[in-house]
């Protein structure tokens, strides 16, 4: 994991996963690849990290899972966001927008004072 702190990545894992699943149902490997693509390789989840988080989210009722046989004949476990997860995404978007405004003001102030 380059540049971004582990604490930052840990704190944002659930909203990030929910946002990816908001785009459409997906499976573990694809979620990792999508995250790498969006973050320009700054965030690279490990399998040992991602799957326990997915299972925890499923237990919390944010996502649901189902098995499907892919085109190449391999069975995969897919995850799909559910209503509770959608609600949390909306809340998180508002939270991050608020934080973004706060940081923007603070850093602008700090930069002008230099």
């Amino acid at each position: 994991m380059k540049d971004l702190s582990k604490e930052m990545i840990g704190a944002t894992s659930i909203p990030l996963i929910l946002s990816i699943l908001h785009e459409g149902e997906s499976y573990g490997y694809n979620i990792i690849q999508r995250m790498k693509e969006i973050s320009n390789d700054q965030i690279e989840w490990k399998e040992g990290t991602l799957y326990p988080i997915l299972h925890k989210m499923e237990k919390r009722g944010l996502i649901t899972s189902f098995w499907k046989v892919s085109d190449n004949g391999r069975k995969r476990k897919y995850y799909r966001i559910v209503e509770e997860g959608e609600s949390l995404v909306s809340v998180e978007i508002q939270n991050w927008k608020s934080m973004n405004q706060i940081f923007s003001k603070l850093w602008q102030t700090q930069m002008t004072s230099i």
Binding site: G28, Y29, K46, G48, Y51, P52, H55, V82, E83
Partner: protein
């Protein structure tokens, strides 16, 4: 360094799966990780690497089975679902059996005391308990219908446990209401009382069987896909 020609990718994957199973991962977790490994190897195939190199890189990226186990245990330090479906059912069975005996004993004491004081109060309290039980059944019914609307078929054993509690309590208090000694010369009250402690465990044993069968069917479904 091993000769790449001797390397058997399928055997290496099978050995890895066996190692995962030895770490006490559930079948579903193992299947998921195996599927992930398959996706990883498919991507690495395009890099013109030998099978052995592909497998080594995949293993490095996924991490050791010990690391996977530690990460899994960290997120779920006490995972009740790691126990088999039967063990869960037995636990519910014992807890519910104990609670039901306490409830029967407490109710006997309450109604014996009330009977000697005020019959109308006795009847009123019986009705109150029945309404509470009906409310519980209604809540369970709502949860079931909501789950159907959301296309969720997995309701979990909690619903079976709660519905069993409220249904049996409802029938119990109905029995008290209609069959108590002062209402009828032919009183079935003592018979109901003697049978009820056996009816409660019998009712919940059905829930235990349902849960166990559900777990087996789920595993069979996963195996059938492969």
């Amino acid at each position: 360094m091993a000769n790449s020609n001797d390397f058997d990718l399928k055997r290496a994957i099978d050995n890895w799966v066996v190692e995962l199973k030895s770490k006490d991962f559930s079948l579903e977790r193992v299947e998921e990780l195996e599927s992930h490994l398959g996706d990883l190897l498919s991507d690495l195939k395009s890099d013109k690497l030998s099978e052995e190199e592909q497998f080594m890189i995949a293993m490095h990226r996924i991490g050791s089975t010990e690391t996977l186990k530690k990460a899994h245990d960290y997120e779920a330090p006490f995972n009740f679902q790691r126990f088999s479906g039967i063990a869960q059912g037995i636990t519910y069975f014992l807890i519910f059996g104990m609670l039901s005996r306490v409830a029967v004993g407490a109710t006997n004491k309450i109604f014996v005391w009330i009977d000697s004081q005020n019959q109308l109060l006795y009847l009123s309290l019986s009705l109150v308990f029945q309404l509470i039980a009906l409310g519980g059944v209604f809540l369970v019914y709502r949860k079931v219908t909501q789950a159907k609307v959301k296309n969720q078929s997995e309701l979990g054993s909690n619903v079976i446990a709660i519905s069993s509690i409220f249904l049996t309590l409802m029938f119990y208090f109905c029995g008290l209401y209609f069959l108590r000694p002062t209402m009828s010369s032919l009183s079935l009250f003592p018979i109901i009382q003697s049978l009820f402690p056996y009816l409660i465990p019998a009712t919940f044993f059905i829930g235990l069987l349902v849960k166990t069968v559900k777990e087996w069917k789920k595993e069979r479904r996963i195996r059938a896909l492969g």
